[in-house]
Every structure is written in structure tokens, then in C-alpha cells.
């Protein structure tokens, strides 16, 4: 989840009975904008690709944790 999505997360939290934390667990597949990211594995724990994209995941997680 990127910073520009925070207002949407806040609003979703108001519209649904789920807290904002759920939106942090995004799959990290970089291929495709939406479908492959969200449909590859029908499992709760997002699967991560093991290749050069791992570096992107680490970097994204680090930026997520920044205030």
C-alpha cells in the first residue's frame, strides 16, 4: 500500500467492518497491475516471487514502515 492510497484505506475502513490493517497485506507480484497481483494464489498469505522482485519488496516494505 502506498501513501497516496491512505485516504482510500481510511474511507474503506468507514464503509466496511474491517480495520485498516487488512490492506497492508498486499501480494507483491510486480507483473500486471491488478489481476496477477490478486488472483494467483487463493490463499490468505500472499506469495512472493523469488527473483529480482524481492529487492523491490524489501524496498517497498521499508518505505511502508517510514512515518
Amino acid at each position: 500500500m502506498s501513501n497516496h492510497q491512505q485516504p482510500d484505506v481510511n474511507e474503506l475502513t468507514q464503509l466496511m467492518p474491517f480495520d485498516a490493517e487488512v490492506h497492508k497485506s498486499h501480494s507483491k507480484f510486480a507483473s500486471g497491475n491488478l489481476f496477477v497481483k490478486t488472483h494467483v494464489l487463493e490463499s490468505a498469505t500472499p506469495l512472493q516471487p523469488l527473483n529480482d522482485e524481492v529487492a523491490e519488496v524489501v524496498s517497498e516494505n521499508q518505505s511502508d514502515s517510514n512515518p
Partner: protein, 392 residues
Amino acid sequence: MTNTALETPWQNLLELFRSSNNLTKPMLVDSIKALTLPKNLTSALEASIKGNNRAINEHLFNLPVTHQEPIAWIAPVLVGSQKTYAWMVGQVSPEIPEIRAKFRKASSAVREDQLLMCSCEPKPLMFLDPFAVSSFSDIAPLPNVSNSNENGDFAIFQVGYKDKTGDIEDFDQSLVLNSTLLEQNFNSAIQVAVKVLSEVEQIDVHSLIRKARLFSMCHAEAHNRGHFAGAWSFDNQKNCLLHEAVEEFRACLNAIRWSEHLGFSSDEMDLFAFSVFAVRFFHYGYKAYIDPLKTHQTVREISVGLMFFEILRQANVFYCDGETPYLQKFDISLVKPALISALEKLNQQESNARLKGVDGLREVGRYWYQLAYPHADLSPEAQSLYTFLRAS
């Protein structure tokens, strides 16, 4: 063909896949190379093990639809922080020629269709049936639903990859889908649905089960195409968290509209529309609802299922009082009209939203979330059904 009927090289490949976590990368590659397998497959598997999943994806996607030999796929992945391999040995689904013919014939009609207006369709899907597949599922099978988790949980045989020029657009994806899983999800949805239908005879369950593969594959194919149809077909500008579930709902509604052009009889179209509702509400939505671990993905599945449920409830397709956990007086002939009416509304909303950009999408998203979650929660009717199913 069954797993036990596999010829030796494929059986050996399967054994290698199963023991892949105990082998170094060079050992795994060399062992695969030593097997008598098609050379282009061996090269693609080697590339994938080394981190380039594109070649095996393209290999599988471009197989002739009448391909009879077994096929294989493998990709290194991380689950949590653990390195492992996702893999599969299977075959090309035999229904593909029939599915592709149906969609080819529908092309001119969907271009002229006032709701679909689809002049540019994405590549057709490739469907595979695994004999054996790795499983990472950390969620329990659905209670009292047979075979609900037997075929692993890989829906698309693909992990991230990029083209030479960068990310591959969704429209250009070569999607290789697990048709056994689609069929399994379909049957699971029907099994769950009949538990809450007070008059089961209203639905021709036997016909539905007989058509499980045809309907579930047509649903997937029409759903993927459905993203690229309508007043605002999916593109890079359609990127809004508050609208993601609506985009998913929209693709399913478009799939129902597409079914009018696939050569189905009127009864079949009604059954198909019911099956799309059932798969979204009684399989994906329900499964996500009972999963104690909620993620962005599972919450989206719950939301899409509820959008279907609330549309049908408010259109009086069934009666549900919120106290008795049953769908009473279910009229299957009203399902498709109610959902097409919802599609007309959504199409109009998106036509207007397109002029406003992301803020327009947010308005559309708000409308459908408020419909799915009256008073920011599940309606008492939806809640009573899910609570009953979980306890049954």
C-alpha cells in the same frame, strides 16, 4: 489421464518437483535435463528455476489446444520468508477448443452489445488440469464441503515476470489458469448454496453440476474479457483502491452479459447467472468470510460476494428475513435480469466517472460498498446465512 498413468519421464519429473526443496538449483536443473522431455520444455523449466518465469509461461500459453502430452510448470517463490518452488504437472484442458469457438463466434455480437461495447478483446485464456500441484494453502478446507481444497490453490500458473520493456499490461497477459480449481470452486459454491435454499427444486442442481467445467471456464474467460468491456474498460487510469472490488464485480456482471452471446439456451443462461452469483457469494465470499486471517484480497472477495447478494435481495429474487437462515421463494429466472439491471446502472455510473477520473471512481466505489455493507456492516440477512453456514 491420471497421475498413476504418467509415463516414466513425467513421473520422474514429478518426483523431482516433489523433492525440489532438497536439491540445489544446479542439481535440480541437471536432473531435469537428464530426463527425456521435450527440449523446449526443458529449456523453459531451466530458465524458470533460474528466475525467469516468462519462458515457461509462454511455452504453456502457446501450446496447441489439442496438445495431448503432459505439461509441467515450476517457479521459485518465497512463502513467508521460506524459499521453495511452486510446481505443477498436468495436461491441457480438453474443453478449450469448445470454449474458444464459443467466444470467437461471440466477437461481433459483443462489439455491438450496448453494454459490453467490446471492440478489443484480450488473448484467450489457457486452461490446464494439474495431475499434481504444490500446495501452500494456509487456510482450512470449507467445513462439510467435499474436495474443497484438493487441488492446491494456484489459480494462475504464473509468478511475477517482466517483459524487456517492463511490466506487462493486464490486457497483454498470457494467463494460464487451473481449470480443475475453477471446477472445484464451482462445485463447492453449489454445495454450499443448496444448504440455504429452502426449495432446492427451484434450481436444477444436476444440470449445474453437469455443466461445472463448461460454466466455470466460460465464467473465467468472459470475466477476463469483461474487464476490457463496458463504458470504462480496465486501463492504467482505473487504479483506485476504493474501486477494486467494483471492478471485480463489474467483470462478473459483464461475464453474465457475455453469456447471452455464447449459444446458451435461455435456461442455461439463467443457470449460468445463478452460478456466477453462487461462486462469488457462496464460495469466494463465504470462504474469505470464515477465514480468520483477513487481508486486502479476502476483504475484496467478501465485498464482491455481498454486492451480488444485496442486488438479488433488493430485487426480490428471493426472500430472506434475517432470522431464518434460508433463501426462500428463490426465482432463478429473475437472477439474470436483476444483475443486468445492476450492470446498466454501473455502466452509466462509470460513463460519468470517466470524465472525472479517480474521484469519479471513488464515487462509484462508495455507492457499491454502501450497497454491500448497509450501515457499514453485513446486512442481517447476509450475516444470518454466513453464520448458519459456518455452524452447519
